[in-house]
């Protein structure tokens, strides 16, 4: 009994091979249809997964979205500060993305422009990014008596500072000029390295290195607030904030609602839109491939008629065509999906300026979908069961 079975199987595969070889043009059309379908599917799936992640990252354009500050902003007449060691305790990443934190110390200083003139009061902001312990500053151990001689920073060269446009206008200062800063009797000069215009409070501030303000304002290790840029989905940001709140119960940790809320809203809208459109395109692509495949399948009337005429049972004939379709789907899907992933890399580069990272999961999904579509497309062949071989050969139908 084994021998006929083996022969049957050998015959089966032989017919399949012949089916492929019989009409090169048709094979090419089918592979093209399946392949382009798979390419569009893979490209869109990959782009969609990547776009959603990338979008959350794009929101960093809004800048810091979480702020840590002392619970009571004003302690007596002084601005309250906290110890800058909290910078080391802030979690440094959310998922794959790095969290960026900057600490600030603010003080009111009297600033005089390069050509003298009337000194003006301005906010002096000391700023330090996470982990960037400025190497150009030689740290002197803090003396116990701030009025003792030598209580100053030793900076090689000029101390650089950034001026807000409004300060620059009032002082008539330009890049490269030197201004002087005075806080409670202590005076220092700094060289304007750049001007900023943000439309925010930075426009009326003088920004220098944090250590400098800490020493000048006699607030060693003190900071006024920490601004944190947390990337990620709205949920990830919320989780991050509640972690921080647990970690620093004595401090005020708050999301900048203006940005986090708008972000959540817009993220929801965009990802909904994207999901819907991608689903639409996928369904359509499936329909398109099916239309093309069904069209080709219907041309197989003669083959089916012949097979039936020489005694093939409908089940076996159908199985033959289904296997053929599945194999075509596999081949078309494998080639198309690979092309699609490369396409999405290029598209990602066009939209976000950064190539989309290929996600491995997309590949098997796209191939499986293509095989499924190919098999479903062969299904109308069932209708051919009703065909009588004789009428096919007579040219009727």
């Amino acid at each position: 009994m084994a021998a006929p079975h083996t022969t049957n199987r050998a015959m089966f595969w032989r017919i399949i091979r012949r089916l492929f070889g019989a009409n090169r043009g048709r094979l090419f059309v089918m592979l093209l249809a399946l392949g382009s379908g798979a390419a569009v599917t893979a490209a869109l799936l990959n782009l969609q997964i990547d776009a959603k992640r990338r979008l959350t990252f794009e929101f960093r354009a809004f800048g810091p979205n979480v702020i840590i500050s002392p619970k009571v902003p004003v302690a007596g007449d002084l601005v309250a500060t906290m110890n800058d060691s909290i910078m080391d305790a802030i979690p440094k990443s959310v998922g794959p993305y790095r969290v960026e934190a900057t600490s600030f110390l603010y003080a009111i200083a009297t600033v005089r422009g390069p050509r003298g003139g009337v000194p003006v009061n301005a906010i002096l902001a000391g700023k330090r990014g996470m982990g960037i312990r400025t190497a150009s500053v030689t740290m002197i151990p803090p003396p116990t008596d701030p009025d003792a001689p030598g209580y100053d920073l030793v900076v090689p060269g000029d101390l650089p500072c950034t001026l807000g446009v409004q300060v620059a206008k009032q002082l008539d200062a330009h890049v490269g000029e030197t201004i002087s800063i005075l806080i409670s009797g202590r005076k220092r000069t700094c060289k304007v390295s750049s001007l900023v215009e943000t439309g925010g409070p930075e426009d009326s501030q003088v920004t220098v290195m944090l250590d400098f303000v800490q020493r000048l304002a006699n607030r060693l290790w003190g900071i006024s607030d920490v601004e944190i840029m947390v990337p990620g989905t709205p949920k990830q940001i919320n989780d991050y904030v509640s972690t921080l709140q647990k970690q620093f119960p004595d401090l005020d940790v708050r999301p900048v609602r203006q940005f986090t809320e708008a972000q959540a809203k817009i993220y929801g809208r965009i990802s909904g839109l994207l999901e819907f459109t991608v689903a639409l395109v996928l369904v359509l692509t499936a329909l398109c491939v099916m239309a093309a495949m069904t069209n080709v399948a219907m041309e197989r009337k003669m083959d089916v008629g012949l097979m039936k005429a020489i005694g093939g049972s409908m089940r076996r004939v159908l199985r033959l065509f289904l296997v053929e379709s599945a194999l075509l789907g596999l081949a078309g899907g494998a080639i198309g999906a690979a092309a699609g992933i490369f396409l999405s890399i290029a598209l990602g580069k066009a939209v976000f300026g950064v190539a989309a990272r290929p996600r491995l999961i997309v590949y098997p999904v796209a191939v499986a979908l293509t095989i499924l579509v190919a098999i479903i497309s062969a299904y109308p062949l069932r209708r051919l069961a009703a065909i009588r071989p004789a009428s096919v050969f007579r040219g009727e139908a």
């Binding site: 249809a33 004003v74 906010i123 398109c288 939209v351």
Partner: protein, 456 residues
């Protein structure tokens, strides 16, 4: 005869035509939906981005530097310059006045507040808070007689208020104490909103009475009583402040009819390379183009022209973030729409090809009866075109429905049906049908009638 043939073809195989037509309609429906949504999404998202609040800040040109730490301005009241409130309706007369979504003037002073006047005996007594005077929800009467509803509720939409905003109408004349002995009455609103942190610190609740006192230059004590109508949670420095109607703070600060900062929320087009160029380098035509495009820079410029003596600055954090994300999302959507159009074209082309291939016998017969390749091709093309117009039309209707559904689900507003989309879709339907039929038709024109009729 020609028309009869076409009509006959439709009548004879209705199911077949229906199928091809359905494929067409489906494809074009998707194309319509994708196009409508993509065309609409820029405006829609730009509106969504207004939930970020103001993107322009107007300050007096001659102002001193604000000494702001943690949202508290440490400048004394007499320092710096102020702007007239009476000029504000002019904002709605600029070229892009319809794009001005909302604005709110702000006047801030430091004040001492207490729940009881006995605590406010000296100028340093009570709790020191920032008093923010602004418009809560303010109907502004414009020159053309219409009313524009604006206020901080609109410029800072992330503000959450428990209770309600203060009313700006005065309910009763208020007694203003001048010094320990004298007093006078003024018409003034007497409601206020407390920041959530302040309310917690001072254990304030809705309906409670408060007294505010601004230490004045002339050492006069001005007490303003107010009833708390709302507790504000903003996630910002306003949480520690007391918010009052602008009118109240103007009186307390002795700056009637004046404000210090104006927040403007404007609907803008993301800045492109053109908008980033220096205005001075523009030729007159370029200048007109810039002026007549709602770039944030041109709107800022127009506001500055309308409100003399001001500095109009773009809040870059909001405006640039918005522009960047909007550009990216629009590009992404156009890409996906492109893919949808391509997929739709492929589907329609394939079904058009299928319908021609299936009619080999008919073509053979026609040729046998003496029809030339041109006539046959023309007949079939006419049929396909008719199908394309019908299918495209139905598809457009279907797509509009789909777009409405999508728009309403995602943005709560349906996109407007547009004529351009209709034309594009019908042209696309005709184009891809002809293209899809062209190849099989060309092959059909080479058919020898005899073998086909024999069934080979």
């Amino acid at each position: 005869m020609f028309l009869r043939l076409v009509a006959d073809s439709f009548g004879r195989r209705p199911r077949h035509k229906l199928l091809t037509g359905a494929a067409l309609a489906l494809g074009m429906g998707v194309a319509t939906a994708a196009l409508s949504v993509s065309l609409d999404v820029g405006d829609r998202l730009a509106k969504e981005f207004r939930s970020l609040g103001a993107n322009l800040l107007v300050t007096p040109q001659a102002d001193s530097l604000p000494l702001e730490i943690g949202g508290v301005d440490y400048r004394p009241v007499n320092a710096g310059a102020y702007l007239p409130e009476a000029d504000l309706p002019k904002l709605k007369t600029i070229f892009w006045h319809n794009n001005i979504m909302a604005f709110s003037p702000v006047l801030e002073v430091s004040a001492n507040v207490a729940a009881d006047s006995s605590e406010l005996t000296s100028s340093n007594a009570g709790t020191k808070v920032q008093l923010i005077g602004t418009w809560g929800s303010h109907p502004l009467h414009l020159e053309d007689g219409s009313t524009f509803a604006t206020g901080i509720e609109k410029t800072n939409p992330w503000f959450r208020i428990e209770g309600r905003w203060f009313s700006e109408e005065s309910s009763q004349p208020r007694r203003v104490n001048v010094g320990p002995n004298g007093h006078y009455y003024v018409d003034a609103p007497n409601e206020c909103v407390a920041g959530v942190n302040l309310a917690q610190r001072m254990k304030l609740g809705l309906g409670q009475q408060m007294l505010a006192n601004v230490p004045d230059l002339e050492k006069m004590q001005k007490y303003a009583p107010c009833t708390i109508t709302g507790i504000l949670s903003s996630g910002g420095p306003e949480d520690d402040a007391l918010l009052m109607p602008l009118l109240s703070v103007q009186q307390l600060a002795g700056k009637p009819g004046q404000y210090r900062k104006l927040y403007v929320s404007a609907l803008t087009k993301p800045e492109d390379a053109f908008a980033k160029r220096d205005v001075k380098s523009f030729t007159p035509t370029e200048y007109d183009r810039w002026f007549c495009t709602p770039y944030i820079s041109s709107i800022a410029f127009q506001i500055q022209q309308e409100l003399p003596g001001t500095d109009v600055r773009v809040i870059r954090r909001v405006a640039e973030g918005e522009g960047q994300i909007l550009t990216r999302v629009q590009m992404l959507l156009w890409l996906v729409t492109g893919a949808a159009l391509l997929a739709a074209a492929l589907a329609v082309g394939a079904s058009a090809a299928a319908s021609v291939i299936e009619r080999r016998t008919e073509i053979g017969l026609m040729k046998a009866l003496g029809a030339g390749s041109g006539t046959v091709g023309f007949l079939l093309a006419a049929e396909q075109l008719l199908l394309a117009f019908v299918g495209g039309g139905v598809g457009y209707a279907l797509g509009i429905l789909l777009a409405r559904l999508l728009g309403e689900k995602i943005f709560g507003v349906a996109p407007e049906p547009s004529l351009i989309v209709f034309l594009v879709v019908v042209a696309l339907a005709a184009g891809v049908t002809i293209l899809g039929s062209a190849l099989p038709l060309r092959r059909a024109s080479r058919y020898e009638p005899a073998p086909i009729l024999r069934g080979e």
